[in-house]
């Protein structure tokens, strides 16, 4: 038969007919083809639209199955060809394991001092006597004979190291006793002791605050707090340093935002320091507690510098401001300053403390505090308890003496509180460039060292700190210093700064 006048089309049609019949025969041989044929035949049911939709679904499924796997843009994975990889490998030059020091680093290295002992009146390695004004031994307890004897006794009993994390055979009776003593000293339910003061606050914050939680943090907080909030991955708002009005403004804004957008309720914390590690000034604890109660936040108070130095008997800021210690949810303090021990603690309610036994990263993964230092710390607390406030009074009067000696000083300003034993002195002339200020202060430090007084500059990890602060001298006053020594130091600083400044500013390098 012919379908048209052109015989060529006949041939094409015959060929097409043959191919289809042949394919049909092959398909018949495949297993399950009968089922498929019955299914397709019965699925039509006189409803072309529905069949079309089903056919589209089938095509879509086939398309999806036949696509090759694709890496997601989430992962930021750069696909390089073999040639590019080879080129990169050929171009690579290894960097030295230790790169050569730059000028600032050389300055730092040369300024390190080696002393013969931890006492406040000690000697340099070349035999010259020196008085240590950079030691955190604020109450002179590092030289206390009673504490030393108790520590030596513990050393003979327990050895030096704890040999394990606290949860894994590292905890001893001395640690338990230390925790109980700290808790009863401050007046809270319980305390937990960490082996290093830096890692305490940076473990406590991520143990309680996670992604999605809100932290309102003092903008000049110390480096340990910065690391803690970075690890926690929480949402952060900074308020101006010790500025209660700014804090209230931020809290109110967060409250408005929360109500307007109907957000789910997450954990909220205010983090601030008792005595600032960068500036030495004290926070108004009563006001912070009032704000936290009004806006329903929890307070994490870093008392690393105010525990053992503030308050009538050294209990810290809660005693100083007469705030009940149970109002502060977490009091973090350090045992390596006034208490002549080591490590840090976190004190508060029992539930809060017990949670950290499994969630405080440094508690789980670091070795426990050496029992020697734990003994020293609880003996120091016992001494503070017996003493009843006279050591603290002594410390306060010596700090006041230093402050008084440096008032009406045209060269130095201080941001430190009158009661803070750590005094930061920065130059009043802020216009001097940063590197020159560092050089001037370092010269002063070296000069004082030659005269027999060891002070230091405030050292920070410049590249990683959030705020760039003005360089300053850091002078630590202790009860072990005599009034005369303090006055000599202050007059030394007053008299010689002028010549230092002139020397550096006139020599325009």
């Amino acid at each position: 038969m012919s379908y048209s006048t052109y015989p060529f089309v006949d041939d094409v049609y015959a060929y097409y007919n043959q191919t289809v019949t042949f394919l049909g025969k092959i398909l018949d041989i495949l297993p399950g083809s009968n089922v498929l044929k019955t299914y397709i035949k019965s699925s039509y049911q006189n409803d072309p639209l529905r069949t079309f939709i089903e056919f589209l679904l089938f095509v879509f499924a086939a398309y999806y199955v036949l696509r090759k796997p694709k890496t997601s843009p989430d992962n930021n994975y750069v696909e390089l060809t073999e040639k590019e990889i080879n080129e990169l490998v050929d171009d690579w030059k290894p960097e030295p394991l230790v790169s050569p020091l730059d000028d600032m680093e050389k300055l730092e290295l040369n300024s390190l001092t080696v002393l013969e002992s931890t006492h406040l009146s000690t000697k340099l390695t070349d035999g010259r006597p020196i008085i240590n004004f950079s030691s955190f031994n604020f109450l002179g307890l590092a030289e206390n004979k009673y504490i030393n004897d108790a520590a030596v006794k513990t050393l003979r009993e327990s050895g030096l190291g704890a040999c394990g994390p606290p949860n894994f055979y590292g905890s001893q009776d001395k640690h338990i006793r230390l925790e109980k003593d700290i808790a009863s000293f401050i007046g809270v339910e319980a305390a937990i002791v960490y082996a290093q003061s830096f890692q305490t606050i940076s473990s406590v914050i991520p143990a309680f605050s996670k992604r999605g939680d809100i932290l309102v943090v003092d903008e000049a907080c110390n480096f340990a707090i910065q690391k803690g909030i970075q690890i926690s991955r929480s949402t952060i708002r900074y308020f101006k340093h010790n500025d209660m009005k700014d804090l209230e403004r931020i809290l109110q804004e967060l409250q408005n935002d929360f109500q307007r957008h109907n957000r789910p309720l997450t954990r909220r914390f205010i983090i601030t320091e008792g005595i600032s590690e960068n500036f030495g000034d004290m926070v108004d604890l009563a006001k912070v507690v009032a704000l936290k109660k009004k806006y329903k936040y929890r307070l994490i108070l870093d008392e690393s510098w105010s525990f053992g130095t503030c308050g009538r008997t050294g209990k810290g800021l809660t005693e100083h401001f007469s705030v009940p210690p149970n109002d502060v949810e977490m009091i973090i303090g350090s045992l390596n300053t006034s208490l002549a021990g080591g490590g840090g603690f976190c004190a508060g309610s029992t539930l809060m403390v017990e949670h950290q036994r499994l969630s405080g990263m440094a508690f789980i993964f670091s070795a426990a505090l050496p029992p020697v230092l734990a003994t020293a710390a609880y003996e120091a607390i016992a001494i503070l308890n017996r003493d009843g406030g006279s050591m603290l009074n002594d410390l306060r009067s010596k700090c006041a003496l230093f402050h008084a000696a440096l008032t009406r000083n045209e060269f130095f300003d201080t941001t430190s509180d009158l009661e803070s034993p750590v005094i930061f002195l920065h130059l009043t002339k802020k216009s001097i460039p940063y590197a020159k200020q560092v050089a001037i202060l370092q010269d002063l430090v070296d000069f004082c060292k030659d005269q027999g007084f060891l002070i230091s500059r405030a050292k920070r990890v410049e590249k990683m700190e959030r705020l760039k602060l003005q360089p300053s001298l850091r002078i630590c006053i202790s009860t072990g210093h005599t009034n005369q020594q303090i006055e000599s130091l202050s007059s030394l600083l007053k008299e010689n700064t002028d010549s230092m400044l002139k020397k550096h500013i006139e020599s325009k390098a």
Binding site: Y39, S42, S43, Q45, D47, R50, I53, E54, L57, F58, F60, A61, Y64, V65, R67, K68, P69, K70, T71, S72, P73, D74, N75, N76, K210, R211, G212, D213, I214, Q226, I229, Q230, R233, S234, T235, I236, R237, E253, N256, D257, R260, H261, R263, P264, T266, R466
Partner: protein, 185 residues
């Protein structure tokens, strides 16, 4: 400094923002046990077993006809897999610092890579189930509509174009807005 003025609160489709370097660090720090079970042995067969079990259970109820049993199986399976893969976000236990809090299980599968074997299987399975159920309901028009609606509810979130997208502000989270300030460093 208020973050409210910057939000487009009435937009229809929002996107969960791409992971920041912190998110990627946290996600890469441990295997995601919430989502890698789809590649284990038996995780594929279990779907067929469950569907068969559902069909048996529904048919065992006296007043349910065979057609209705198939439709109910279809709907139950679609609803169950929708809730499991496309509604619930995050992981049930904390090992990644909450890095997956805003992602549904479908988006967590295979670290976000598309067209992987597990995804192919999980997409083709509802389609096959749908085709079976329309066949066994003798191509009733209403059943077809109900079944195809369920199928689209399950298929559309599986499309690669819809990865990380949210409609109508569903699953909005705390201060994790795209525009708000988060950790500065």
């Amino acid at each position: 400094m208020g973050s409210s003025s910057r939000r487009r609160s009435s937009s229809l489709v929002t996107k969960v923002p791409n992971p920041t370097i912190d998110d990627r660090l946290d996600q890469g720090s441990a295997t995601n046990y919430n989502s890698n079970w789809v590649n284990y042995k038996g995780a594929w067969i279990i779907h067929i077993v469950l569907i068969a079990a559902l069909r048996l259970v529904f048919h065992a109820v006296p007043s349910v006809s065979r057609e209705l049993a198939w439709t109910l199986t279809n709907l139950t399976y679609m609803a169950g897999s929708f809730i499991m893969f496309h509604w619930v976000t995050g992981t049930p236990f904390e090992f990644n610092g909450g890095a997956y809090d805003r992602l549904t299980m479908w988006e967590q599968l295979d670290e976000g890579n598309q067209y992987t074997p597990a995804r192919k299987y999980l997409l083709v399975l509802p389609i096959i189930l749908f085709l079976l159920s329309t066949h066994y309901t003798h191509y009733n028009g209403w059943m077809f509509l109900v079944n195809i609606w369920a199928l689209f509810m399950v298929l559309i979130p599986k499309l690669p174009a819809v990865h990380r997208k949210r409609i109508f502000g569903i699953q909005k989270f705390a201060l994790h807005d795209d525009e708000s300030e988060t950790v500065s460093r």
